[in-house]
Symmetry: D2
C-alpha cells in the first residue's frame, strides 16, 4: 500500500504543473504549486502516506461537510432539510441561483457557498464566536488533532475580500432564509474556511464518515449513522463543484474539494483519504489530487458504482 | 385642459381599486389606495391640475432619472456609459442579472436598482452625506420647491429592510464595479428614494427634461440638452420596469414610475406631467396613474411614435 | 440635404471596414462589405439619396415590422397582443427565452424570431403560400415598387440552414402557441426574410409608418394610425436587437435592422429613411448604417426624445 | 425477503393516491393510478416479487441508460463523453439548457432528453430503423425476455405530440451536435421510450448493471465493467431528474425513473430492482415507487453512501 501510494505520487506529480493555484487572496496565491501529498486512514487502523502529506493548507470548502454535520447534530435532519436543499444546481459554487425572484432552499445545497452560509445559523451557540468554537472543537475531535487552528492571515484576507459571500448572505436575508446579522454569520464562515489542516487531518475526518460515525479504532460513536449517510450522499452528488458528475465516473466515491488544494474522500466501510495539491482546474478542484484519487480508485477498485 | 384633467380623474378613479399598494415597509402599506392626482406643467408656462395633486409621497424609483442626471453632470457621459449600460434587461427592477459569473455594465441600466446604486458613486462630494445633499439640492431646484425633504420614517424603514439592495451592492463590489463602502452608498440611495414630493414637483422636474434642460419660464439652462436626451431615451426604453414596452404602445412617451405610486412623464418640447395613485400593478407601476396618462395621451395625441 | 447626405456617406465610409458581414449562408457572406447607401423620403414629397442606394439586399429582420403590420391588419390588436408580448427580452434575437418551463407571449416580442414566426399564423390566407403572397403584395404596395420579389437563392439557403428557427417554432408548438405545420409557417417566414429590396424601398415603407398609415403624396390611408404607432413603438424599444437602448440614446428614433445590412428608420411626422451597409456589429446591426443615422439625427435634430 | 416485499407493498400502497399519472398522451393518462409492484433479482440468482409486478408499462426515460450503454458499446467512452457531458444540470429533464447562445456537451447529460436524443446518433446501424432494432435486441437480451416489444399506440402518440423533443433536436442540429435527419433520430427515440416492460424486466436489466456487465447466473459478460460503472455513476448523480439529490439521501443507490411509472434500481454487487407505480411527483418520479425503494433500502441497508 505504501509502495502504491508512492508510485501514485510519482506518476501524478507532473499534473501539479497543470491548473492554477487560487489567486483571489495573496495567502493562497503564494503557495508553491508543485506539492502533492496523500494520506490514507483505513478502517482496520492502518495508516499510509506519501508525498507532501505534512504540508498544511486551509480547508476552504472542505469544511462544508463539517458545517453540515454540526448543523445536523445541533438542529436535526428536518431543520437542515427545510433550510437547504440537496439537488445539484448545475452552476458554480458561488453563483447567484434563483428563479423568478424567488430564492428557496430548493435552489441551494450544503456544498455551495449560499447553502453553507445558511447552515451556520443552525449551529448552536450563544454567539457566532461560540458557534465557531464548537465547529473548531468538532473538527479537532474528528481529526484527532487538538492543535488544529485558524490561519489568521487567510481569515483576515477572506474577510476583507469576501464581498460575493456578503452579497449571497444579504440575498439569503432578503428572502427571509436567515435572520442573524450577516457580518457575524460570515465571520464564523470565513474562520471555518480558514482552518489549517494537512492530509492526515482530512483522512482522519473522512475515516469517521466512512465508518458511519463510529471511530474505527476506539469504536466510539461520534454522531448518528444517518448523518454520515446524509453527508456522504451530498458529497457524492455535489462535492466536487461542477465536476461532481465527472468525478463520479472517473473516481467513484464521495469527496469534497476546496480551493486551498485539499480533497477529503470517503470510501464507505473502507477508508478515509486526504490529498493535497494546490493547482486547480477550472471547476476549482485540485488537478493532481483528482488524478491521484482516480489512480488509487482504479488500483484498489474503490468505486462504489 | 382643466376640464379634461378633471374628466380623466373621474374616469380613471375606479382603477384605484385595482392593484395593490406596496407593502414591504409599513409607511408605504398605510397609504390610502384610492388617491389619484395629476399635474401638468406646459412649456408655455401654463399649469393645470386635478384630483389629489397635493398629496405627498416618496419618489422611490422616480428619483433614478435624477441620480442619472447628476452622475452625468458630475462625471460626464463617458464615465456614466462605461459604468452602467442602457439596454432593457427583460427582468424585474431588483433582479440579479448576470451571466456566467460575470457582471458587467452591459447587464444593468440606470433605471434598475443595481444601476442606480452604481451611479451614486459618480455623483461628486466629499462624503456620501455631501453627495446626497447635492442630489437633494438639484431636486429642489428642478422642482422649484425649496421645501422638499426626505421622509425620514420611510428612509429608516428602507434602510432597515433593504437587504436585497445590500446584496446587489455587494455584488457590484465583488465584481469591482464600485469600491466605496456599501453602507455609505446605500445610505445615499435610500435617502434619495425617500424624498417626499407631490404631483406638481414631478411635473416641474419633468418639464425641464421636456425642454431639454432649459427652464421653460426663466429660460435658464439647468443642464446640457444631451443629458436630457440621455435621460429621456432611457426612460422611453426602461422607465416603466417590465411594462416599458406596453407603456410605449399604449401611452407613448418617456416616463418613470416608483413604488410610492408616482409617475413622472416627459413629453419632449411640450410638457411635464406628475401623476400619483398608490395602487400598483404586478410590474410596480401605478394602475390608475398609467390609465390617466393613457387617456391624456389619447386626447391630446401626445405619443411620440 | 443632398449635400448633407453625401457628406455623411463620405464621413461614415470608413465604418464599413468595421464589423463583419453575416456568414451563416454563402449568399450573405459574399456581399462586398464596403458598400454604404442612404435614401430619405420626406413627408413633403422630397426625396434625397447618396451612396450605394441602388444596391439590393434581402430584408431579413427588417421584414418583421411588416409581418407585425399585416398581422394587425388581418387579426387586430387584441389577437396580436394576446399572442406576442411587447417587452424587450434582454436577450439576443434568436435566443430561447422562457422560464420555469413555461413559454408565454410575455417572453417574446414581434422583433425577435420567435415572435415574428408566431405572428405569421395571424396573417390571413388559405395557405401559407397565400399568406406570403399577401405579405409580398403589401410590401410592394408600401414600397411603391411592383418589381419587388424574393431572392430565391437566399430563401433556399435560409430554409436549408434554419434549424434554430425550426427549434424555436417547435417550441412554440410544444407550448400551444402555434398549431399550423411548422415547415409551412417557416416557409412563409424564410421567404419573407429573403425579399430583396434597396434603400429607396425601405425609405418608402418607413415613410408611411412615419405618416401614421397615410401615403404622404397620394394622401391615401394604407392602414389605421394606431397600427403605425404600435409598430413604431415596438421598433423604438426592440427594433435594434440588444442595441436598442444604445440606439435610442445616440440616434433617437424608431428603426429596424436586419442581418442583410439594411436599416429602416421612421421619424414620425417627418420622414422615412433606408440605409444599407452590410458589415454588422456584435448585435447584428449595420455599423456604418447606425453611424450614418446618428450623424443625420444629430445634424437635423431628429431625436424624438 | 418475499414477506418483506409484501409488507413494503402493503405499507406503501397508500402512496399511490399521492401524485398524478402523466397525462400528456391518453395512453399514459388512462393507467389506473393505484398499481404498485416490485421485483428483485439478486446476484445469487434468487428472485422475489410482490404486488402488481406483472403489469406492463412503457419504459419512457428508463430506456435512457440503455441508449447510453449501446452508445458506449458501439462508439466507446471518448465519443460518448465528447458529445454529451455528465454533470447534473439543475434543470428539468426537458429544459432548454444553454447559455450565451452556445450549446455544448457540457450543458447536457445522458439522462435528460437532449442528451439521450444526441446519443441515438452514436448507436451503430445502417438506418435509424436498424439502430432501434439493435437497441430493442439489447433490451430483450438484458431483460432475458424475447417477447419485449414497442407499445405502438404509445409510440404513435409520442410521435404526434413530441414537439418539445423536436425543438430540442433542432437545437442540437443548429449547434452542429447532430447531423442526421431529426425525424429519423426522433423516431428511434420515441420507439425506445415506448418499449413495454414489467418490473421483472427492469430488475433483470438492473441486475447486470449491478454485476458490472456479467450475467449473474450464466456468468456471461454482456458488456465491459467500465461501461456499467459509467452508467451507474450517471444514474447516481442524474437518474432521478431534479430529485436525484434527495433520492441519494433517502434511498442511496443508482436508479432511473420514467414518466410511465417505472423505476430501475441498481445496487452494485448485490441486486437489480424493478418497481412500478404510475402516480408521479412533481419531478416525474413514481411516488409510491420511491417510497418502496426507500423502505427496502432502509430494511436491508442498501445505501452505498
Amino acid at each position: 500500500m505504501k509502495t502504491l501510494l508512492e508510485r501514485i505520487i510519482a506518476d501524478c506529480k507532473h499534473y501539479t504543473s497543470q491548473g492554477h493555484v487560487a489567486t483571489y487572496i495573496p495567502e493562497l496565491a503564494n503557495v508553491s504549486p508543485d506539492k502533492l501529498g496523500i494520506y490514507v486512514s483505513m478502517n482496520n487502523g492502518n495508516e499510509y502516506s506519501a508525498g507532501d502529506c505534512e504540508s498544511s493548507f486551509t480547508m476552504q470548502s472542505v469544511v462544508k461537510p463539517l458545517i453540515l454535520l454540526l448543523a445536523l447534530m445541533d438542529s436535526g435532519i428536518d431543520a437542515v432539510r427545510d433550510l437547504v436543499g440537496v439537488e445539484a444546481t448545475g452552476k458554480p459554487f458561488d453563483a447567484f441561483n434563483y428563479s423568478d425572484q424567488a430564492l428557496t432552499g430548493a435552489h441551494i445545497n450544503p456544498m455551495i457557498n449560499t447553502g453553507a452560509i445558511a447552515l451556520c445559523t443552525l449551529i448552536h451557540g450563544t454567539s457566532y464566536h461560540d458557534r465557531f468554537s464548537r465547529l473548531m472543537e468538532l473538527t479537532r475531535k474528528l481529526a484527532d488533532n487538538q492543535n488544529l487552528d485558524v490561519d489568521y492571515s487567510v481569515y483576515q484576507s477572506e474577510k476583507m475580500t469576501g464581498n460575493k459571500n456578503r452579497a449571497l448572505a444579504y440575498m439569503l436575508t432578503a428572502y427571509g432564509m436567515i435572520t442573524d446579522p450577516v457580518e457575524e454569520i460570515l465571520d464564523c464562515y470565513f474562520k471555518a474556511c480558514s482552518i489549517s489542516v494537512n492530509c492526515k487531518d482530512l483522512a482522519n475526518i473522512a475515516h469517521i464518515f466512512a465508518n458511519h460515525g463510529i471511530h474505527p479504532i476506539t469504536g466510539e460513536r461520534q454522531f448518528p449513522a444517518e448523518y454520515a449517510k446524509y453527508v456522504n450522499a451530498t458529497l457524492a452528488t455535489c462535492g466536487m463543484y461542477d465536476g461532481s458528475g465527472e468525478f463520479a465516473l472517473t473516481v467513484g466515491f464521495p469527496a469534497k474539494s476546496g480551493v486551498g488544494g485539499g480533497i477529503m474522500a470517503v470510501i464507505p466501510h473502507k477508508m478515509g483519504i486526504g490529498v493535497f495539491a494546490p493547482a486547480l482546474d477550472k471547476h476549482g478542484n485540485s488537478v493532481a489530487g483528482v488524478q491521484a484519487l482516480a489512480m488509487l480508485s482504479h488500483e484498489l477498485e474503490l468505486s462504489i458504482y
